[in-house]
């Protein structure tokens, strides 16, 4: 069995899971209008991390570690995130029974900018190199595993970690995801005309597209449950492809439906056992409609469904990790958070999107994710 024993989120809303959870409980929205010519020639909306706080907190780390070298912004975020999660459970990171799995779409893509090119050497923009630098920093002897599978990267990394632990290959796996709000990504999504001109509104009638966010998140899985926290275990996980379009989701929710079906099969569970769904909910017209169809095809319309991208934006390779960390915190608190930005139901199927924070006994939950390349993922968690 694989258990979720520690987690961290660094986003616009805070530097720990609890800070983020409390901020979401208060209904905070971290997506703001920005003007930064280095990122985009005109004004744009994004959820970004307080970089002054990042530098201050990172400097404090120097006391704990001896092998301090130069790190990029994203590496600093991921190191801080991992350090906080490690402090909650103190696994032996120097053991070969501990592995690191990284999840990112674009990693240090900001290094492609000419002004930064020579600062970190010729191959630091490569994702395996970033992963290696971070796992070397913590002194882990295993080769860092790096997954880059668009917006399902985070959930896929968690599923992969649980699968390797269940097979007895590792005792502990540190799963860390991160992506930045960069010129590269903002201009790309702008060219797709898929960015909303106000904080995004998942599942809402007036949703106009997504909001981008940056985040780093860490979840540690272990073959033994946590001694101090509510035990939550991995029950099942799967991915599936729509085989339909590289940048648009299936109109029948096919891949998402299959991923959920296979995750339920592995969990040995029925859909009526699912108490709560954390959706992908990007607030693009097609994604949310597709998810509502996949949920309805499993007769999960009554399950309390929410999403946090209306507060923290779409954090790409970090999304699956930080959204699962929030889901774990919801389970520990038996609370379903409201879906920021959702007011008037705007998808074809009558799924139960949360409008307020509410108390609910949460035993079994489903995390969904979908992304470019027709990719879809599902993950089922349960309290022990």
């Amino acid at each position: 069995m694989a258990y979720f024993i520690a987690d961290n989120i660094i986003s616009s809303l805070g530097f720990t899971t609890v800070e983020n959870f409390n901020s979401l409980l208060s209904g905070d929205i971290g997506i703001e209008k920005m003007e930064d010519a280095d990122i985009y020639p005109g004004p744009f909306l994004a959820s970004t991390i307080d970089k002054t706080r990042l530098e201050n907190e990172f400097r404090l780390l120097a006391h704990k570690y001896s092998n301090f070298s130069k790190f990029t912004v994203l590496e600093k975020l991921m190191i801080l995130s991992i350090d906080d999660a490690l402090s909650q459970c103190q696994p032996d990171v120097k053991s070969d029974k501990t592995a690191f799995i990284f999840s990112t779409t674009k990693g240090n893509i900001d290094l492609l900018d000419k002004s930064k090119k020579d600062e970190f050497g010729p191959d630091r923009h490569l994702l395996w190199k970033m992963a290696e630098e971070i796992s070397n920093f913590f002194g882990n002897p295993n080769k860092a595993i790096c997954i880059s599978n668009a917006c399902i990267s985070g959930v896929l990394a968690l599923n992969t970690a649980a699968m390797y632990i269940n097979a007895g290959q590792y005792e502990t796996i540190v799963v860390c995801g991160g992506d930045l709000v960069s010129r590269f990504v903002v201009s790309g999504f702008m060219s797709f005309l898929s960015l909303s001109d106000e904080p995004c509104k998942p599942f809402d009638k007036d949703r106009k597209g997504l909001s981008l966010g940056e985040a780093a998140g860490t979840i540690i899985l272990s073959e033994k449950p946590s001694a101090s926290k509510q035990g939550i275990k991995f029950m099942g996980g799967a991915t599936a492809n729509d085989a339909n379009h590289i940048s648009g989701p299936s109109r029948t929710g096919e891949g998402s439906y299959i991923a959920i079906k296979k995750a339920l099969f592995e969990a040995g569970m029925r859909t009526d056992q699912i108490d709560h769904i954390s959706a992908h909910g990007t607030a693009t017209p097609y994604n949310d409609e597709m998810e509502s169809i996949a949920i309805a095809r499993h007769n999960l319309q009554k399950a309390a469904t929410n999403g946090i991208k209306g507060s923290v934006g779409h954090t790409l390779g970090a999304a699956g990790i930080i959204e699962t960390a929030i889901l774990l915190e919801e389970m520990r608190n038996n609370t379903v958070l409201k879906t920021s930005g959702y007011k008037n139901h705007g998808v074809g199927e009558q799924i139960n999107v949360s409008t307020e924070n509410s108390g609910l006994e949460l035993n079994t939950c489903l995390k969904m994710a979908s992304g470019f390349g027709g990719s879809n993922a599902a993950l089922i968690l349960q309290k022990i």
């Binding site: 674009k106 490569l126 492809n241």
Partner: protein, 208 residues
């Protein structure tokens, strides 16, 4: 539960295509990946118009999968049970650079969605999935060098947890210096398969 076997493997590098270790195509007249890919396409004649919209690395992955799956009958398997597990070291660095050039502060600002969409490595998985209507498990790993152990470990785990029965897996990479695609097909029937066997067939063309 039965075992997995290697059905076929295809290796494309240095203007040559090898299928199951045998040279099946080469073009010594071209000196760049772009004309080479066009040349392979003309030779194969797959009549697949989506090819012309793809970036170079997706074209390379697609052509390699086309060789791998031609004359293969997978109709005995459910499309949900056919997984694609790919890897490389440079992600989509050539297309990343193209997108970066279109948004530079010096050279003008004209990002294109048709370039940007190809800046994710798993788009290769998407293209192969669309071509063959494959709906199974996906994973894209970024690793410094071809790593048979990483791939076979992931595949064996997916197989043992009954998440897939057939696997299209391997390595597709392009950087400024070279290109290489190596894909193999595993299913419950064929030749014996293990990490060492994958390494052996990969290294067959090491010095070419």
């Amino acid at each position: 539960m039965g075992k997995l076997f290697i059905n076929k493997y295809c290796h494309i590098k240095n203007n040559k295509v090898f299928l199951d270790g045998k040279l099946v195509f080469s073009d010594d007249e071209v000196h760049d990946i772009k004309p080479f890919l066009k040349s392979v396409y003309r030779f194969l004649k797959p009549a697949y118009n989506k090819f012309f919209k793809m970036d170079e690395i997706s074209k390379l992955a697609y052509l390699c999968s086309e060789y791998l799956l031609q004359d293969v009958d997978l109709s005995a398997f459910n499309k949900d049970d056919i997984a694609i597990v790919l890897s490389n070291s440079d992600s989509t660095s050539i297309t990343d650079q193209n997108h970066q050039n279109s948004i530079s502060k010096e050279g003008g600002f004209f990002p294109s969605p048709s370039i940007f969409v190809y800046t994710l490595p798993n788009i290769m998985i998407g293209e192969i999935s669309i071509r063959h209507k494959l709906k199974g498990e996906n994973a894209f790993f970024i690793v410094e060098n071809f790593d048979a152990g990483l791939l076979t470990n992931h595949i064996n785990n997916l197989y043992l947890t009954r998440k897939a029965k057939v696997f299209i897996a391997g390595w597709v990479n392009i950087n400024n210096d070279s290109y290489e695609a190596f894909l193999f097909l595993l299913s419950p029937c064929g030749k014996k398969y293990n990490k060492g066997e994958i390494e052996k067939v990969y290294n067959q063309h090491k010095y070419i």
